[in-house]
Symmetry: C2
Subunit: 443 residues, 2 copies
């Protein structure tokens, strides 16, 4: 028969076990942490009416949308993020959900990205949001969730940078530059890249700011020190502006709450230079950087928004949320050698000596599983060396060898596949001995 070349589309990828195992572990950790704060899972369709997806989006988004006409003549699109679906979902089900509504959503999205920039056209997002409250508690909780996530994943050195959009807006109000916020923020966003002189020049050019005004904006953005020092320094700069004072007050509450919850001081930094996009966020903003790999960019980001659902309903739904950057985190973990090298979830491998041993080994492996172990029983009675080669390649950690002699003597060989060492134990003790060996290996 004519054969079709097996291949994936450009910008799409297969996940082999070695890549998928740490992915599933990371997602499980995110799920556990989200749940521990009372966030509930939801899911929405991959396909939506095109007008739902593009109604809210920018031109850039529209260009990247996968869309087509379905067999029923409907214009449909594949979701490109989880925020627009959340807005549609919240507007549609608000009555039934009740407020505040805390949800997490871990799902695939599609974007026709330019793959030359190393981007994929299919990837997973991992969002959590609290909708229907403006409470400081939900702002604080967002930072706590990010903190727990990073810690549970296994990072010790990381910094959550927080800011409030009202602070800079307040200063601009005081300087009479409120109407020029957009070009000023655009310029300020380039601070780390092009330095203060060039930013000042751009501000003067695009926003018509005086050199004295730009100096004050840059002074705010340059504030450093402890959280309390930065807070003390910025308060006078925004004094008199309602927006600015409210922003500073909320920052103070949020930082106090994070401290009260017991988060180590060095893990949360007040960084008045971060802005995170120009239009969307209206209150607190969060970015998270790894101490050992800051250059990889923020691995968990988010913020507060005024009104999620305005495209769909007149009911005003403010909210706050953030997103864990799965791909970026996995890349970082790989670079930092935090990922195991296994291609199998089963720690234990049991070779098959001969066909007659199959019955007894089925019983023995069933008992090991009942004791909580993950066990692969090889199905073909090939040469032992071949079977152990398979086990080594897969990354099983322990081979439990039971041949006819061992079975007759009610014992077995436990072979540590990492170092080749071996140990004879009674069959009745095997589950306990294997558990001990595995725990030892984890240290």
């Amino acid at each position: 028969m004519p054969r079709i070349t097996p291949r994936t589309l450009k910008g799409f990828r297969d996940y082999l076990p070695q890549a998928m195992l740490p992915r599933e572990a990371l997602i499980a950790t995110a799920r556990d942490v989200y749940r521990s704060y009372g966030f509930s899972p939801i899911d929405t369709p991959a396909l939506e009416y095109l007008e739902i997806l593009s109604g809210n989006g920018s031109d850039e988004t529209d260009k990247q949308l996968y869309h087509f006409t379905d067999n029923g003549g409907r214009e449909v699109g594949m979701r490109f993020d989880l925020t627009v679906p959340l807005a549609r979902f919240a507007a549609q089900h608000a009555q039934e959900l009740g407020l505040p509504f805390k949800r997490y959503h871990i799902a695939t999205v599609w974007r026709g990205e330019n793959t030359q920039r190393g981007r994929y056209r299919e990837f997973m997002q991992c969002d959590f949001d609290t909708i229907g409250t403006e409470s400081a508690a939900s702002d604080i909780e967002t930072a706590l969730v990010i903190h727990d996530l990073l810690q549970k994943i296994g990072f010790e050195r990381f910094t959550i940078r927080v800011n409030h959009r009202g602070v800079l807006n307040g200063l601009l109000e005081n300087l009479g530059l409120a109407d020029q916020a957009l070009p000023l923020l655009r310029a300020l966003d380039k601070l780390a890249k092009i330095g203060p002189e060039k930013v000042a020049a751009e501000m003067e050019r695009t926003a018509g700011a005086t050199s004295q005004q730009t100096a004050q904006v840059l002074e705010l953005a340059a504030l450093t020190g402890s959280r309390d020092e930065v807070l003390a320094a910025l308060r006078p700069m925004v004094a008199g502006s309602e927006t600015g004072e409210a922003g500073a007050e909320r920052l103070s509450e949020v930082l106090g709450g994070i401290r009260a919850a017991g988060v180590p001081e060095e893990r949360v930094e007040l960084d008045v230079s971060i802005a995170r996009g120009l239009d969307y966020y209206t209150g607190m903003i969060y970015e998270t950087f790894l101490g050992d790999l800051p250059g990889i960019g923020s691995v968990a980001s988010g913020g507060r928004y005024d009104n999620l659902t305005e495209a769909f309903t007149s009911q005003r739904l403010p909210g706050i949320g953030a997103s864990l950057g799965l791909d970026r985190l996995l890349a970082a973990m790989e670079e930092l050698e935090m990922l195991p090298n296994a291609r199998t979830p089963a720690e234990v491998f049991v070779p098959l000596f001969n066909k007659e041993m199959l019955g007894p080994l089925l019983k023995i492996t069933t008992d090991l599983r009942a004791a909580g172990l993950r066990v692969e029983l090889y199905g073909d009675a090939k040469k032992l060396g071949k079977q152990l080669q398979y086990a080594n390649r897969r990354g099983h950690r322990i081979a439990m060898i039971v041949g006819p002699d061992e079975l007759a003597a009610d014992d077995c060989q436990l072979k540590n596949l990492a170092d080749g060492s071996s140990k004879k134990v009674a069959l009745a003790d095997a589950a306990r001995e294997i558990t001990l060996l595995l725990e030892g290996g984890d240290d």
Copy 2:
């Protein structure tokens, strides 16, 4: 601004927390069981080249495929099952994967189904397969995995029906009807629905079988009794046919292995009447029925196939696999009242008395989480009654009430939200006391 009506496409659905929580629990159970046998996770793209998806499929499948031309002019389609992607994946990565290869794949698929039959156009499949071996061990393991799945999900009364395609084929060979297998199987598939007389009539009409031949086919299909009795009865019927004898021999090995592994006899039945589709399976076949809801149909099905990858490569890859019917199982669990009614994963609810309590409660809830509890802290200091109403509606199980007086006295009220009972305990004992209350409630 003009508003867009929030709605989902016909045949698509949102999952609200109440539906999503049991879904996630079921998927987690499936994942745990698959892993416990050494099956590894993989994932493949939702979008594939159209020729990959339709090359293997039937006309029926092609009609249901969501497909379109992407911005790069490629003809692409959304996967309609996980088997075709597995075939493409295995052919593409065989060298790197090594054989045998055991994978599970839990992912969404799309089909433009007729929604009038109550079908959805987007649903999740939950497959496991072993590729590259014809061993009896992998046939046995397939039944063991299904057994563990059903048991871990919480079912006690269920039957896995097994058969081997070679048995009926062997009989047909002996009857000189091998060339008429297709119309005969089609007729036989209707046995439960239309009864033996009408099946016999159809066999005579469409396959040109004599009444004596149809009587023998129906005699085979009607065999009942214990596994050993059925096996003993069918052996003489297939004697002399290589296919039939090999099928009977494999059935005997598989049933023996399932018994050796300790599966209770009543949970596995040899049912020579099941055929499961006409073309695909070539060896063992499996169906699973719930004792309390047999009418819902098979909740876990699968079988052995000769060559998964023939559309993509000349390398012959036989395999065996099965699939857990998530939607059907969830429907059954709902009908059997096996699903909890909660809309939140958090057992514990902590109301906020006033803003001054926020700091202490952040510390207290952090400590509860560190003790392994899932805790939602309410963020707005509304009236206690309102907050408890929210907690009741969400399905939190215990409210931990700490007002200023309790804080001063280092204690708290634990309120059982199901029965309204209340208990005062020291703050230091709260985590332990809550854990005890929750365990009591689970009994």
